[in-house]
């Protein structure tokens, strides 16, 4: 997962601190897709995610002069995003919208999807997009903190250690949250399959 090119980020941050707006544009290009993904998986709402994405980067830009490089920019901006989104979701309450036509065309060819379809029991055919929808519903039943760890670990593939740094919690807590969240999701989905 180590696709962060540390020297390049350091350079771009330094240049932004020197007043080069263009450097910040390059950081945006690099990080906005994954920050968006992080936010979206926690809010399940495009509009809110769009607003939050802009707010996160605005905050990053405003505070960049205070960024001392103690952590990587990658960790720093993820931390801003997670914290801002958690605060937002908690204030907003439990309302959410499902956006059903989210799945990119690419997903049809995804190997994992094909594997999954192949392992389906013959007793009940599960429409995959329906399963996807159930998953999203199940995700929204989790607390926002649990959603955060599931998004970072399962969706984005970040290692436990990185998640721990971003959330500023011990690695053991990350593991136990994940364990609990997976259990919850399995239960919700099982309820659905039984119906």
């Amino acid at each position: 997962m180590d696709d962060q090119d540390l020297p390049e980020d350091e350079t771009l941050v330094r240049r932004t601190q020197n007043g080069e707006t263009r450097a910040f544009d390059l950081l945006w290009q690099k990080y906005s897709p994954r920050i968006y993904s992080l936010i979206y998986n926690m809010t399940a709402n495009h509009e809110d995610s769009n607003d939050l994405l802009l707010e996160v980067f605005a905050k990053a830009y405003r505070s960049i002069n205070g960024f001392r490089g103690k952590s990587s920019f990658y960790t720093w901006i993820h931390a801003i995003a997670v914290n801002m989104t958690i605060n937002f979701v908690k204030k907003r309450g439990r309302r959410f919208q499902l956006s059903l036509d989210d799945l990119d065309a690419n997903v049809q060819n995804d190997k994992e999807l094909i594997d999954l379809a192949a392992t389906n029991t013959p007793t009940r055919e599960v429409d995959l997009s329906e399963l996807q929808q159930r998953l999203n519903e199940a995700m929204m039943k989790l607390s926002v903190e649990h959603r955060a760890v599931v998004t970072m670990f399962d969706v984005q593939g970040m290692p436990h250690a990185e998640i721990a740094k971003i959330l500023r919690i011990p690695e053991a807590t990350v593991r136990s949250r994940l364990f609990y969240a997976h259990r919850q999701l399995q239960n919700y989905l099982e309820e659905f399959r039984k119906k």
Partner: protein
């Protein structure tokens, strides 16, 4: 039958395909800049004035005649004091001379304490704290530039 851990993780991983439409991030960047501009415009006149003031103070250079003026004042003051015409008390003496060079002192202090990195500026014969205050009558007209020529070269079609 329950989805096992691996199957669950595979299912969740598919969510990474949930992307906004193509071109979204480029458009959002434009929106980001628009909001930054709006914020700048909304900034109070005071904060803009302050920024102009501080940035112009970093750049302030004492015009050369000021040195002469200060020296002149010093000579006059020294003459007056030396001839006993006026016996200042401690503070007035300093105040009298420093009122001329006060601005210079303040700006020098600001320039030294400011966060401007002088080493980045081109070094030339004149001092780094440069804004030459050149009035139009003082010097000949500069060369107005628009007369470069492309250097011709034999095109080698390679990359």
């Amino acid at each position: 039958m329950m989805l096992d851990e691996k199957q669950l993780q595979k299912l969740i991983r598919i969510k990474r395909f949930e992307q906004p439409p193509p071109g979204y991030f480029d458009r959002a960047l434009i929106e980001f800049h628009r909001r930054q501009r709006e914020e700048l415009l909304r900034r109070s006149a005071t904060s803009i004035w302050w920024e102009r003031l501080t940035s112009s103070l970093w750049n302030f250079r004492v015009p050369s005649y000021a040195y002469g003026a200060v020296f002149g004042v010093f000579v006059v003051a020294a003459t007056i004091i030396g001839s006993g015409l006026w016996i200042p008390y401690k503070d007035a003496n300093r105040a009298g001379v420093i009122s001329e060079s006060g601005a210079q002192g303040a700006s020098a202090r600001l320039a030294l304490n400011g966060n401007l990195d002088w080493s980045k500026f081109d070094h030339s014969a004149s001092s780094p704290t440069v804004v030459p205050v050149i009035g139009p009558s003082q010097t000949a007209l500069p060369r107005y530039v628009l007369d470069g020529r492309p250097v011709s070269h034999k095109a080698s079609f390679s990359f």
